[in-house]
Amino acid sequence: MKRRIFLKGSLAAGTLAVAAGAGMLTPKSVLAAAWPKAAFESKTEVEALQAFFGTSDVEQSDKISIKAPLQAENGAVVPVKVMTSLAGVEGIAICAIKNPRPYTTSLRVTDGGGGLYSTRIKMGQTSPVNCYVKAGGKLYMASQEIKVTVGGCGG
């Protein structure tokens, strides 16, 4: 069945190495995209951006909106929704820069995907949360500070 083949293919994809360059999807490499380990393990935001987007040259954009609380009730569950009207979205990433590993999550998008990604992240302390969007080959960002009174990274 088509669905089972699809699922088998995508589960096996974790073992395939990503081709050279950034962790972005190209239509061909879509099904082979491995989990961006280097980005997740980066201790700095710049390293993480390089690992995932292939660049850390970024400009502010007012076409990215962030829906997130100004103060998190619980640092273990902080909702963040990133929306963008930029055209040609390739990827979205969310970094909580004061977390021990700032890169928390990302989304790779193909032609059928859109400029919307929402999730809930863990934050260890009050921090700016930087939301990046790669669109039309360029990297953009918007940021919002989220205050945290009860940290949520565990340990």
């Binding site: 699809f6 589960l11 999807l25 569950v77 790779r108 990604y117 863990k122």
Partner: protein, 104 residues
């Protein structure tokens, strides 16, 4: 399986949004077991893939910085009623789950 739930709703900016709630501990590897004092090893969802009619449209990359029981929302602007949307995820131990829904 009941551990992954999906909802599809119309998006204000056109098309649809898929919301997925995956039951998963998302352990950071920093927490200690209260009884043994040992650290609970990392256990987290790595990739979560979204497909429309069998074609992947997005891949969410999660890590230990994502909250327990991830609630993930992704836009699918080109989806239409009758399309089948599938979400499937795999974690760092190779465990996986999936769910499927038809756009109404």
């Amino acid at each position: 399986m009941a551990s992954t739930k999906m909802k599809i709703k119309k998006s204000k900016s056109g098309g649809y949004e898929v919301m997925v709630l995956a039951k998963h501990p998302m352990e950071t590897g920093n927490r200690k077991d209260k009884k043994t004092g040992e650290k609970i090893p990392e256990h987290f969802i790595e990739n979560m893939e979204f497909a429309v009619n069998g074609e992947m449209v997005a891949q969410a990359n999660l890590g230990t910085g994502v909250s327990k029981n991830p609630l993930i929302g992704v836009g699918i602007p080109n989806a239409k009623p009758g399309d089948t949307v599938t979400v499937s995820w795999v974690d760092n131990r190779g465990e996986s789950d999936s769910a499927e829904k038809v756009v109404k």
